[in-house]
């Protein structure tokens, strides 16, 4: 398993380089212009000058090479400088966003707290609710609990966040006045009261996001458990006199985790990717809204960098999932 991991890690470098090239070419090919949001009152000659100042006049391969150097060589140096107080990267040009004319990575770092607070919490809450629901629904298939769970999760999944978000706002913010709905990113948690405020402002977006996660994961959990509950080894375990709890939570659960691990691993990069619609509805301004804003403004360096970070996370978490398969089911061998 160790050799497999190392081999995959080594292999992921060319994979990621290839992915970055494909993303770059895709963005290049996509119609769009960083001047799209400039008011129409600005004459075309001025826009042309602004494009040149952004470096758009250079050929594609030059710009791709520049981005590679900036991302893989200069940005790590900046990070080292930041932590150790060195000055390796001084004077070097970093990846600069076209919208804000500031280093992309600085903005990404700025956005991580609210993204993790809201989207990360929602994901964890979602998983924590989904697993028990899935397990119990399968164990008591077609019970009232199972039917209710099915109904709620399926309806929850069919109703998109652009509807649930405003619905919760109307009910809880406008009518009842319990929670704020414009997320305050400047808020800092220092004591109990500020933690309570943080909790209150997180609760609505977390509810919206957790609903989707719960629905998805609990369905896979339930289906997979059902597949395993009737297997021979379960009968054997019961015959051995093991308690129901041990049979279900140890034997069946472990064997049912493979699809669930896949789904959870696929969702992990999405935490960092944020939740575009929900972030927009609640003005969370996390990484999701950063990405969509950059896409609409055709801020190519920002889009390229963000999508590439997601690509790294996707490759990484899929590797983790593959390793977990081997642990969950030792029969799975990759070599």
């Amino acid at each position: 398993m160790l050799t497999f991991t190392i081999r995959r890690l080594v292999l992921s470098v060319p994979t990621l380089l290839f992915i970055s090239l494909i993303i770059f070419l895709l963005l290049e090919l996509a119609p769009g212009d960083p001047m799209a949001q400039v008011p129409l009152t600005v004459p075309p000659e001025v826009k042309e000058k602004m494009r040149e100042a952004l470096g758009l006049g250079q050929p594609t391969h030059v710009r791709f090479w520049k981005w590679l150097v900036q991302f893989f060589w200069i940005e790590p140096q900046v990070m080292i400088d930041h932590y150790f107080g060195t000055t390796y990267a001084e004077g070097d040009l970093r990846v600069i966003s076209w919208q804000t004319r500031s280093p992309v990575m600085d903005i990404v770092v700025q956005r991580i707290p609210q993204t993790l607070w809201v989207v990360g919490t929602a994901y964890i809450v979602g998983i924590l609710i989904a697993l028990p629901i899935g397990i119990y629904s399968a164990y008591r298939q077609y019970s009232v609990f199972d039917q209710c769970g099915t109904f709620v999760t399926m309806v929850g999944f069919s109703i998109p966040p652009f509807f649930t978000g405003p619905l919760l706002i109307v009910v809880f913010s406008v009518q009842l006045g319990w929670f704020p709905f414009i997320y305050d990113t400047t808020h800092k948690v220092t004591d109990w009261d500020s933690f309570v405020y943080q909790f209150r402002q997180m609760i609505l977006p977390v509810m919206v996001l957790a609903l989707q996660t719960t629905a998805q994961i609990s369905r896979f959990m339930r289906a997979s458990m059902l597949d395993n509950l009737n297997q021979d080894y379960v009968r054997t375990a019961r015959a051995k006199g093991l308690s129901e709890a041990v049979v279900v939570t140890v034997h069946v659960l472990r064997n049912s985790m493979i699809p669930v691990v896949t789904v959870i691993a696929l969702g992990m990069p999405a935490i960092f990717g944020g939740a575009i619609i929900t972030e927009q509805v609640f003005s969370v301004n996390g990484i999701g809204s950063l990405l969509i804003g950059a896409l609409f403004a055709n801020d190519l360096p920002m889009v390229q960098t963000l999508t590439f970070i997601f690509a790294i996370l996707i490759v990484f978490f899929n590797l983790i999932a593959d390793i977990l398969y081997g642990i969950l089911d030792p029969r799975i061998r990759y070599d």
Binding site: P31, T41, I169, N285, S289
Partner: protein, 566 residues
């Protein structure tokens, strides 16, 4: 005795009230929300409204336009005119004089050096300045003394209020930006995110595309202002959320540009926490008729260029009938409510330049049908008109936006009633308004028969706006499809009149020519079919006083005068 005490009380009240009222920072905190988040606080590197308006709290120009479009001195002593000698008689130079005793927020003096530096900063050929058009025709900026600068133009400039006037062209501090000129402009992140200014507020923290925290400028020129000690400028979300936050929950005090359907806005206003306010500028929602043939059967290079006139829309009767079939009152009622008025003009304001053309305001389906019948466009078996093998079937495109899609549906129905078949298409705004020469969907490329969007002009003078429709400004493959003459209208008489406007300095004469140009595009030729004069709707909390909505300059132009109603 009694009378005396009452009098005393009254005197005391009048004496104390302004004193208690007029203290910097006495009213605590104010929250502003813009659903588009500011990316940068340097208007010379971005011309987005969100960036210019947020920056206007911090940096100020020499003069601004007020809510009526009149000029008001800000950093300048007074507005220079020909009458007061500030503008030379040949219209080739303008002399600005700074107020004395002005301080930057870091405590240093504002001098003419800063003004000249601002011009040099923007006019640097490598800087990619977003406001370069403001400095068009400027040959030099000379420092006369510490408080006086002269801007010289290479040609006579009937409207010399381009540089240093309005929110797009504020004065930046020379000391802060000295190392940031030319190609180095984007590298000065600290300066671009926190410019030192003369405005009522200073930046404490700037999170790009998210939120700005500000506090009162201790060196602001009026010791009693601003009334608020701190300010939060939140960006992001959508118009619905920001409207709710001000009108329904009261989380915020001011919300910008609430582009919502009138019934939705009215429902929100019932929340009772705030008030929507509207004002009108020069923004006109219009339909542009393509004078060239966008048919996909034509080869690239000919398609949508002057080489191929439009088979149907070249006929003025068709264009006129299309305009006659539209009920502009209903469009306003559905889409804009108090923020819109029906119009037939491309230049709806200011009064001196606005034509009195109103002949399009009444919908006339029967008249349009008669006109088309007369012109030889006969209805076929499927109800669609035809002439010489050309079917009146139009592709109608616009950007993606709920109101525009409602307009499309309504107009499609009316055109259907006069025997014109319409196919609708909506395109993502970032593609539609972008100038990517490789995309077939940009509004300049115009691969459709008619398209709808809104445009306006900066300040109060429509000269460059009207000059957009000259023959040479048509987008074409040779110019990478760049150009402002979207409908490819071409009339030598029009070009001639535009040139005349450029030579004319006298205001009344300029107005006359501008009106004539406006009429040539609208009621004489119907190449531009104006629909709605679009105002701006913003909203403020009922407890926020002093708000005066201004569409000629930054909406936050008088934030120094805002206060909390107790």
């Amino acid at each position: 005795m009694k009378l005396k005490s009452i009098l005393m009380g009254a005197v005391a009240a009048t004496a104390f009230a302004p004193a208690a009222f007029a203290e910097r920072g006495a009213d605590g905190h104010v929250n502003i929300i813009y659903w588009q988040a500011p990316s940068i606080l340097n208007p010379y590197l971005s011309s987005g409204t969100k960036d210019i308006e947020s920056a206007s709290l911090v940096i100020e120009p020499l003069g601004r336009y007020d809510q009526d479009g009149a000029l008001v001195a800000y950093l300048a002593e007074e507005i220079p005119t020909v009458e007061n000698g500030g503008v030379s008689a040949d219209l080739k130079s303008i002399t600005w004089k700074l107020k004395s005793g002005l301080k930057w927020s870091d405590g240093s003096d504002v001098t003419s050096q800063d003004v000249k530096f601002t011009a040099d900063y923007c006019m640097d050929p490598e800087g990619g300045c977003a406001q370069l058009a403001k400095f068009e025709g400027v040959s030099s900026v000379e420092i006369v003394d510490d408080l006086t600068v002269v801007v010289n133009f290479s040609e006579p400039k009937p409207n010399p209020y381009g540089p240093f006037m309005g929110g797009q062209s504020p004065i930046i501090q020379a000391a802060q930006f000295a190392d940031c000129t030319g190609a180095k402009a984007p590298e000065c992140t600290d300066a671009n995110f926190g410019p030192i200014g003369t405005g009522p507020f200073v930046v404490d923290e700037f999170k790009p595309n998210d939120v700005i925290s500000m506090s009162a400028n201790t060196n602001y020129r009026d010791a009693a202002k601003p009334a608020f000690a701190t300010l939060t400028f939140k960006g992001g979300g959508d118009a619905t959320a920001s409207g709710r936050a001000v009108l329904e929950t009261g989380e915020f005090d001011y919300a910008w540009n609430l582009q919502l359907a009138p019934d939705v806005l009215a429902k929100m206003a019932e929340g009772g926490k705030g008030t929507p306010i509207a004002a009108f500028g020069t923004l006109v929602e219009r339909i542009e008729m393509n004078m060239t043939d966008p048919s996909p059967s034509l080869e690239e290079g000919v398609r949508s260029t002057a080489a191929a006139p439009h088979p149907a829309l070249s006929d003025i009767n068709v264009r006129k009938a299309l305009s006659m079939a539209i009920d502009r009152d209903l469009l306003v009622e559905i889409g804009y409510g108090q923020a819109g008025r029906p119009t037939c003009n491309l230049v709806p304001a200011p009064l001196a330049y606005a034509s009195d053309n109103t002949d399009c305001l009444v919908q006339d389906i029967a008249g349009a049908n008669a006109l088309l019948d007369e012109a030889g466009w006969a209805k076929g078996s499927d109800g669609v008109r035809e002439k010489d093998g050309v079917r009146l079937s139009l592709l109608y495109q616009t950007s993606t936006n709920a109101v525009r899609q409602d307009f499309q549906a309504l107009i499609k129905q009316w055109w259907d009633e006069i025997g014109v078949e319409t196919e609708l298409r909506n395109i993502n705004a970032s593609v539609f308004f972008g100038g990517d020469p490789g995309s077939p969907d940009t509004f300049q490329r115009f691969y459709a028969d008619v398209e709808m969007y809104a445009n306006n002009f900066d300040g109060t003078d429509p000269e460059s706006y009207l000059a957009q429709h000259t023959c040479d400004k048509a987008p074409k493959p040779e110019s990478q499809w760049q150009g402002e003459n979207i409908n490819r209208f071409c009339d030598p008489a029009y070009d001639e009149l535009v040139a005349e406007l450029g030579r004319t300095g006298e205001l009344s004469k300029r107005g006359e020519i501008a009106k004539k140009l406006n009429d040539m595009l609208t009621k004489d030729s119907y190449v531009v079919v104006p629909l709605v004069d679009r105002g701006r709707v913003s909203a403020h909390a009922n407890s926020l006083g002093g708000v005066v909505l201004n569409t000629w300059d930054s909406e936050l132009w008088n934030a120094a005068d805002w206060y909390r109603i107790k």
